[in-house]
């Protein structure tokens, strides 16, 4: 049973198994369920993610009209031009945005760890598919690894914007994706932890300031940022770069920052971007002032 990232990495190293396996075994033990049963449930979640990306890349529009269609634009640009940030990175961005556009349109998604941050994990997973050619099993394992890190954050800090700001949502989601893609690319458990720490460090202090209180602006583009940061952080960790502040301490810092974040910046739709002239104008337009 692990409570911290340090413990998670220790178990993986001692038992000589990937982090995904540590998570699967803990789930079997805690829930008294079989390996096959747990694996099958995660495969269903993977399928939901695939369907959401597919729907988003065909183009959707939210009820308010605030979001939708940007994932399509990014994919077209990616096919027609040479993206400055690289093909995989921009593919992750478009797939992350596709997921969140479907979410905003009240479509079916899989929360990872929340709905507002549901784009980062599938965005990264489906983008690296082209280069890493994972098996179906490896793709499911990616989700268990992401889940293991999210599990630590959820129990030691928070994963909701209302409790801890966007750093708790997209910050956690991007960091989970980074840790998972390190494992898929052949990195060590410790490198997964480094990638997680590097991502979350760069998301610290990020506020949750949705325009009109809707999971649309800026949430869709924050997922674009989370997924791209995840890939960059994974590359840093795989290159051997370490986080000077250990992973669990970064999570602790995120918790304390969230605790001192004013309520206006925690999913109430009252501060930040929501409280700009345009943010207020959009809110009044949508809800009739």
């Amino acid at each position: 049973m692990f409570r911290t990232v340090t413990e998670l990495v220790e178990i993986a190293e001692q038992e000589k198994m990937p982090i995904s396996e540590v998570m699967i075994r803990q789930e079997m033990e805690m829930k008294n369920r079989s390996y096959e049963d747990i694996f099958a449930q995660m495969e269903k979640n993977l399928t939901v993610m695939e369907e959401a990306v597919e729907a988003g890349l065909k183009g959707v529009e939210s009820v308010t009209g605030l979001t939708g269609g940007d994932a399509v634009l990014v994919q077209q640009y990616r096919k027609e031009k040479t993206p400055l940030s690289g093909n995989i990175l921009l593919d992750a961005v478009s797939k992350a945005m596709a997921t969140n556009e479907v979410n905003a349109a009240m479509g079916v998604i899989c929360a990872t760890p929340t709905a507002g941050s549901a784009g980062c994990v599938p965005g990264v997973l489906f983008a690296v598919q082209e280069q890493l050619h994972p098996t179906r099993e490896q793709m499911i394992r990616f989700l268990f690894t992401a889940g293991a890190f999210g599990f630590v954050v959820a129990n030691n800090a928070f994963i909701s914007g209302a409790a801890g700001g966007c750093q708790a949502e997209v910050g956690s989601a991007g960091a989970m994706a980074a840790a998972a893609v390190v494992e898929m690319a052949g990195g060590t458990p410790q490198q997964s932890a480094e990638a997680f720490a590097i991502t979350l460090k760069n998301m610290l202090g990020l506020v949750c300031d949705p325009v009109a209180g809707l999971v649309e602006v800026p949430c869709v583009k924050r997922n674009a940022a989370g997924s791209s940061l995840a890939i960059v952080s994974a590359d840093l960790a795989l290159a051997g770069v370490k986080s000077r502040i250990p992973c669990d301490e970064v999570i602790g810092a995120m918790y304390r920052i969230g605790k001192t974040m004013p309520v206006q910046l925690r999913e109430t739709g009252e501060g930040g971007l929501a409280d700009t002239p345009t943010g207020r104008f959009l809110r009044d337009k949508i809800f009739g002032g």
């Binding site: 995660m42 479907v102 599990f151 994963i159 409790a163 009109a212």
Partner: protein, 220 residues
């Protein structure tokens, strides 16, 4: 630990847009319905904190009512839940409350029909996870993740034994249990989380046991 499954993190599969404000709200509504044991005829829903400020944008109202209708978090009928409730003749009032609460996503739901009513307070703690913190004026802590039996009883010696005896007879294992009373000798509440869903036959048997007033269950 607040979260004890990987599927709390990778999941739930749900209708967007917010796990705390939509999926969590469905679950709280569903638990309230489970307590009542059937469809309600009326509902009075008081929203606090972030719930009160953003419920329209997040579809929290639609989600809570979806839960009251017994929907799961990924039910595609969710978007039409307010219309569906109206067509069933259910009267629903939403109130935005400015009172301070411990948790930003708090809702108080009072629902009822001609012969019965229940009042629950639920909080949505993130990622679609919820906790019920109050039932009919009793403080409690219930996740809704496990099947559970809730038993209103009179605070008398033997009341708990009469219940556990019946559960033991039916091979129902208790995972967690708490007892809470308003005052010595007054009404009390037993919250029993169990490993498997409890059948209606067992529920009836529990209802007929000594000192028991009312029984309801959570099915997962």
């Amino acid at each position: 630990m607040k979260f004890n499954s990987v599927f709390d993190i990778i999941g739930p599969v749900m209708i967007g847009p917010s796990s705390s404000h939509t999926a969590g709200a469905v679950r709280i509504g569903k638990i309230a319905r489970d307590f009542l044991g059937e469809d309600c005829r009326w509902a009075r829903i008081q929203l606090y904190g972030s719930f009160a400020k953003t419920y329209k944008g997040h579809g929290t109202d639609v989600a809570l009512v979806g839960g009251l209708l017994g929907f799961a978090t990924d039910d595609r009928r969710m978007r039409q839940s307010l219309d569906l409730a109206r067509n069933k003749g259910i009267k629903i009032d939403f109130l935005e409350d400015t009172a301070a609460t411990d948790h930003p996503n708090t809702v108080r739901i009072k629902i009822g029909n001609d012969h019965d009513d229940v009042e629950v307070v639920g909080i949505s703690i993130g990622g679609g996870k919820v906790q019920i913190i109050e039932l009919n004026g009793f403080s409690l802590r219930l996740s809704g993740n496990h099947p559970a039996v809730l038993i209103m009883h009179n605070d008398r010696a033997g009341a708990i034994a009469s219940v556990t005896k019946i559960l033991a007879k039916h091979q129902i294992n208790i995972g967690h249990m708490e007892v809470n009373r308003k005052d010595v000798g007054k009404e009390a509440l037993m919250v029993i989380e169990v490993d498997q869903n409890v059948s209606d036959t067992i529920l009836t048997e529990l209802e007929e046991a000594d000192h028991i007033i009312q029984v309801s269950k959570i099915v997962t």
